[in-house]
Amino acid sequence: MTVLAKLEENKSMSENFSGPSEERIAYLEGLVGQARIAAAAFTQYTQEDVDRIVKAMVLAGLEQAQYLAELAIKETRLGVLEDKALKNMVATEFIYNYVKDKRTVGVIREFPERGLVEVAEPIGVIFSLTPITNPTSTVLFKCIMAIKTRNAVIFSPHPNAWHCCHEAVRIMYEAALKHGAPEGVFACLESHTLQDNAYLMHHKDVGLIDATGGPSAVKAAYSSGKPALGVGPGNTPVYLEKTADLDTAVVDIITSKTFDNGTICASEQTVVIDDEIYDLVLKNFADLGAHICNEKETKLLGRTVIDPETGFMQPMAVGQKATDIARMIGLSVKPNTKLLIAPIRGVGREHPLSVEKLFPVLSVYRAKSVDEALKVCVDVNHAGGLGHTAVIFSNNDEIIRKFGEMMNAGRIIVNSPGSVGALGGIYNDMVPTFSFGCGTGGGNSTTDNVNVYHYLNIKRMSRRTPAHMWLRIPNHIYFNLNAVENLRQFASRSTVIVTSSLLEQIGHVDIVRRYLPQQTRVHVEVIPDAEPEVKVVMQGVEALKLYKADQIIALGGGAVLDAAKIMKLKYESPEADLQELAAPFLDIRKRVVQFPTEKINPARLIAISTTSGTGSEVTPFAVLSDKERGRKVTLADYSLTPDVAIIDPQFVMSMPKGLTADTGIDCLTHAMEAAVSLYASPYSDPNAMQAIQLVFKYLPIAYEHPQNEEARCMMHNAACIAAIAFANVSVGVNHALAHAFGARFGVPHGRANGLMLPHVIAYNASVPSKFMPSPNQRGYGAHKKYAAIADMLGLGGDTVEEKVKNLVAATEQLLDQVAIPRSIAELGISKEEFERAMPDLVRSAFEDPSGRTNPRMTLMSEMVELFWSAYQGRGLAKVASAS
């Protein structure tokens, strides 16, 4: 590829700056090409390979720590030789100690319980800018990180630290190469210009820019459009609070601020001292070799070490000794002075020394209160130090916590030195680094101490985790004739029987009374036999309170049982907000609104069903009528499940034919929908199948011969068994449609279900236009489930398709047998009226949680089709190919 073509390839770059010469581009392309090949070859290395190379590099770096420190001092004329050597050792030994056992190749972490595995992917080519203040230590650190993560690096050192950095790169490269690293894994620009940096920052083969340095370098990195780790300046506030150990604090601050002559950007800049200890602290500083400036000296410092034009520190002072700075500006200090301390009265441009000073000049501020101290620290933090580092010395945990909340700093160092503390691994357990992420406050992408994980793309391999399932039913279920006698075993001081007036009139309440223990006080709360309204529920709650009920017996159909469930909820937890609890949810385990768990009036709920359909006696559902919005509100939570269910057929012997049909078909719909539910399980399937078999056999008999005890008993059992299934796996779109339609047109629930059922079976048995996301779904199987039901019922058919057709036909036949209307039109609802209602019907059906477990996701357009199919009536259901 020609140089011109390369230029063309990096178009965005050429738009932003005048690029380097063609010759220079060829050179830069050579570096990138070599690094790219090295990085590619590096992907084949194992963890053992890289760990072997890293160890060799670390040993080489340690060996040359003193030599590199000398080079750095000689070249940059910044800092302290001993400290530079120490930094080089930290950058090798401490970093090694941190990375040596870290997995950075292949699988790096596993979370078997979550089915999650993290896999490392190298970045490739990293372009790295290194600073003048910590030149060789930063290079050593980045080389070790790069090899540990199988990346190649092109270094661009600060021009005034090029030689020492080049030498550091050479030492690392030779050690790496000798122990098997790919050729070309490190390169260092042979001199550089801003154009070189810009060219490489925009290069398509550079995967990451890691810029440690001044604000302009960091800004350039982030402006390049490349992923970047830009780590820049700080302005560390220190709060020296009166409860602190002052001796420790003063020594720590001096240690830190004078370390390498204050060149670490995490070093202390302004110490805010409580009034009570201020004089003592300053005396301690002075005793240990600090010079406390008077007002005139402070002004002189401010004028000289800070550029009055820019407000930033003067480069000539950076990394210089306190005595040299004093000499430069004509300040008379003792020869052993370590630190110049300048009292300031505020923060901002009018207080020049309140900014970052990478040299041993420290500002101090006298604070009259904790509040004032924290405010000044916030001001310092915001004067160029956002996201970087803050320090507090205190033994007051509350103040320490408050300080942590107030400071916008990636590192909040407590009772230890700022600079050496922020490096990590020495005074604390933070990750060792030479690159401090400053978060968004500092224009950075991270607040972390930059480490090996920032040099990796971490891939997450996530295995399918089947949703946890359950089978939750009442503690006690009593069934068969005279099961009501079991009431005797439940002791109660005060029982409220919730029932309807009809059931009281026909003597059902007396039967219940007969089996209650003698000492039980009994009150009968009669409510309308219709879907409960809030008003009815609240009247019931008042009765429960009045009689201090410890037991509620719900005797009735689904409406009465639902009312009793909600009464219990409001009685036990008066703060329960029914509207809020009815909030929609996708998964009951992850719902936003939780049902209350604290109960101030605990009461046992015994449900005795007097119809054979809803199964409310064993379900966690309750339906409220929302008359204002003309729809039903479904509450769902296992705390609503009755404690005891009594399935006694004597209470259903007198059910009229219409109710027998409606409730029986409701039961069938429960079982059919549970059978094909997305949550259907080996625990629910037997119940669903058994219930279907019982309904097909006994519903016609119970309908035609209401006094047939066996048929009544079996239908009563079927309702409960179907409910055990759907209470745990929910229902489907049939119920969603029926709820919407029934509420809008006042059609009994079971009948509404029956109008939809054949159409929904045919619909679910066809290939879905949209699958419902569900970890439990292993391939689409609704049609096969229906075929299995057909087989169980002995309906015949050779193929799945034929069997489904036969099931639809048998269902239609059953509906005819029990005189369920054949169509919505047959109910006297005009086409126009139905059409007008359609938008509301669809909206309401879509919002209904029942549809969430339907085997296929029902689109709104499909709901419209289903409604119209039901409108037109039975015999029209078509079974599409499901194969």
Partner: protein, 91 residues
């Protein structure tokens, strides 16, 4: 149309040398050269540069180079350095 195919087994121990040799032996008279990479487990920067050169020479001489039996680790390396479009691959 006749296709002249030449099959060369690549010695994994002397990969760079083998690739240089393959490069030198590329002949315009042959439409296709197949290199057997079955024994190549790892590829280093030197070999990658030799592959780049081989691809260039093959382009110049209009010879199709087919790599046979390349393992997935080596294939990914070739992908990272954009060499995959320049060769054909055979399982």
């Amino acid at each position: 149309m006749t296709t002249n195919a030449v099959w060369l087994k690549i010695d994994a121990e002397r990969l760079v040398h083998a690739l240089h040799q393959a490069c030198e032996n590329l002949n315009s008279a042959e439409r296709e050269v197949a290199l057997d990479f079955s024994f190549v487990r790892r590829i280093d920067p030197g070999a990658l540069r030799a592959m780049e050169k081989l691809a260039g020479v093959a382009d110049d001489k209009a010879v199709k180079v087919v790599l046979r039996g390349v393992n997935v680790d080596v294939y990914k390396v070739l992908k990272l350095v954009n060499l995959t479009p320049r060769f054909s691959f055979l399982a």
